[in-house]
Amino acid sequence: MTDRFTAAFLLILAVAYGLHARSFRTNFITDPLGPQAWPIMLAVFLALLASYLLVRPRSDARWPHRIVLLRQLVLVAALVGYALLLDPIGFLAATVLVVAFMALLLGARWWQAGTTGLVSSAALYLLFNSVLGLPLPVGALFGG
């Protein structure tokens, strides 16, 4: 089932990608192929492969349990949140939070998670800021 669904998605992607290629126009001729030909070749090739997969699907992917899936979504959300928080609250605070959060997500106790967050945040700050000489954001909150 999963393979069929993937194949259908790839087929739609190939058509959309190929059709979009037709909009690449230049006013002057640079070479015999121009900007359209290569993407259209790729689209045709992908369409062929996807059609084959549609007719002869192979394996069925084992998707994770709902709880695991939820955890993965939370992990992605945490990483997005980290990227957004990095500038406002600074590297140190944001890293303590995200590392502790990830550790909790992986089954650490709260004090283990807290220690991991504090230690790794400090260690990474030392490594990147002091040893490698990369300025990491101090955070607007702390006047950075």
């Binding site: 015999p32 900007p35 993965q72 992605v76 590392v99 089954g107 990474l124 000489g133």
Partner: protein, 506 residues
């Protein structure tokens, strides 16, 4: 003589204090990365690329650092295979077959020692091979025109699909997806934007480093969440890490044969280390296993795949340096780094940047000696890493990748793109679409299109120009065989290639 002269210059580069330090550091860090369960060489090198950038290293120094990490990870990979039965990546799978039984019988220390010697023999012979054959191939490659390069790229994808992955169709789908990603940005011929959706950020194309760290490190974190069972860590005792001379001398021929097989399969594009270790093991089993002891803890069953996969790691550097076509996932990551440093691998690399090539070769000789030392007397240090709990390991590894990307771009857009690649990479892995061809496609896409267009331009639009020379015809025939042979030999040994759920062999 010329080789010796150039090698001498290479040692001059390798013995510069900075480069010597980087080789030591890389070997050490690489062994750690390899020893950590579930982290393979491709992953380790991908995470460390941004770090090497931010150090502001010269190209030869950056390559020395990352190639040492690569070799180190190949050595370290055997530790978790032997002691935990958890291979860090696909090539290490074969080492579990006899290594884990040995560990269960209390001969773990002996297995570690023999595999360290085998890794040393394999990696050193491969470095000799690299030194002798790469310049020859580079001389041949000077004669490559656009048509030959286009055929070569097609050949790389076709052999990749036939030699790795259990499903050639899905490998090809991965390759096409990568090639499509490579078309994002300004068209190399006419400079009009393609697939940029009006985003200025996309005009220069998708940053290789952002894509690779996302595909490997972030998707690995998602897999980690899925597979981790909380609280699984035990203390491991290995006993004395030493092997009886008899065991080593008995497996010496095995190591030599494994090295040659590994090197050859490493040179083939796409085949890489997994094929090397697999063929080395099966051949030894046929040749020397008279009492059916393979699979029950035979030292030769540890020596063969370790010599094979370490030799393949060196072999895979040959096409990457001479042709710009990587032979494995990790060399693809190394290629991405060189391209980001504005060094284009290929025949000209040997004449224009001899310090890069020969400095690398000399460093690999030195690195191997360092690795042998690290992996014999000091192996206990790395064994302790096996008991680092996942809830420390995963967040820290993810953060290093994250900060690396942030530190080269300082752009939140790139971070989001990286997370997007991570989620995409996870989905591809779930769908059994391997990641290595995606990365190869992304890396080679531009050159593939440019060479095709250049060839047709030279041939005034006549497609027959792609078959004009004996060299290009040969490449097309190999490409065709790569696609057709798997259809004939469908009863390939499935069990080894099936064990690559991450699709990041070698």
């Amino acid at each position: 003589m010329e080789t010796l002269h150039l090698l001498g210059q290479g040692f001059g580069v390798a013995f510069q204090p900075l480069n010597l330090g980087l080789a030591l550091l890389g070997a050490f860090a690489g062994t750690i990365v390899g020893a950590l369960p579930g982290l393979g060489p491709a992953n380790g090198v991908a995470i460390l690329i941004p770090v090497s950038f931010t150090l502001g290293l010269r190209p030869e120094s950056a390559l020395i650092l990352l190639a040492s990490v690569y070799y180190g990870a190949m050595y370290g990979g055997r530790i978790s295979s032997i002691l935990l039965n958890i291979p860090g990546d696909e090539p290490a799978v074969m080492t579990t077959l006899d290594g884990y039984p040995m560990a269960k019988q209390g001969r773990g220390g002996s297995a570690l020692a023999i595999s360290a010697v085998a890794s040393f023999v394999g990696a050193t012979l491969a470095t000799v091979g690299l030194m002798l054959f790469a310049p020859l191939l580079a001389k041949l490659a000077i004669r490559f025109g656009p048509a030959e390069y286009f055929a070569l790229y097609v050949m790389a994808f076709s052999t990749l699909s036939s030699l790795t992955g259990k499903n050639p169709v899905k490998t090809l789908i991965g390759a096409v997806l990568g090639l499509m990603l490579a078309t994002v940005g300004l068209d190399p011929g006419s400079s009009i934007p393609r697939y940029t959706f009006g985003q200025m950020k996309f005009f220069e194309g998708i940053d290789f480093i952002v894509a690779i760290v996302g595909l490997f490190a972030i998707s690995e974190a998602l897999v980690f969440v899925e597979t981790l069972h909380a609280g699984e860590f035990i203390r491991y005792k290995v006993g004395r890490v030493s092997a009886r001379i008899r065991d080593i001398s008995r497996s010496f021929m095995t190591m030599l044969r494994g090295s040659v097989i590994g090197f050859v399969s490493g040179v083939l594009p796409g085949a890489g280390a997994s094929l090397g270790s697999f063929v080395a093991y099966t051949l030894e089993k046929r040749l020397v296993d008279r009492d059916n002891t393979f699979g029950t803890g035979d030292p030769r069953g540890v020596a063969a795949p370790e010599a094979g996969n370490n030799a393949a790691a060196g072999g895979a550097l040959v096409p990457m340096l001479t042709l710009g076509v990587p032979g494995s996932g990790t060399t693809a990551v190394l290629l991405a780094m060189l391209m980001s440093l504005n060094i284009t691998p290929g025949p000209l690399l040997f004449t224009q940047h001899p310090e890069v090539v020969w400095g690398l070769i000399a460093s690999l000789y030195l690195g191997n000696i360092v690795l042998l030392v690290l992996n014999l007397p000091l192996v206990g240090l790395f064994v302790r890493l096996l008991s680092v709990p996942g809830w420390i390991l995963m967040p820290v590894v993810t953060m290093v990748g994250f900060l690396g990307v942030y530190s080269i771009s300082h752009s939140v857009f790139d971070i989001f793109l990286m997370i997007g690649f991570g989620v995409g990479g996870y989905l591809l892995r779930k769908l059994d679409i391997p990641l290595v061809p995606v990365i190869l496609g992304l890396l080679l896409g531009d050159d593939m299109e440019v060479n095709l267009r250049r060839a047709l331009n030279l041939g005034n639009g006549n497609w027959l120009t792609l078959w004009h020379s004996g060299l290009s015809i040969t490449l097309w025939i190999i490409a065709l065989l790569g696609l057709v042979l798997p259809l004939i030999f469908l009863r390939r040994p499935q069990h080894i290639v099936d064990d690559d759920p991450e699709g990041m062999a070698g």
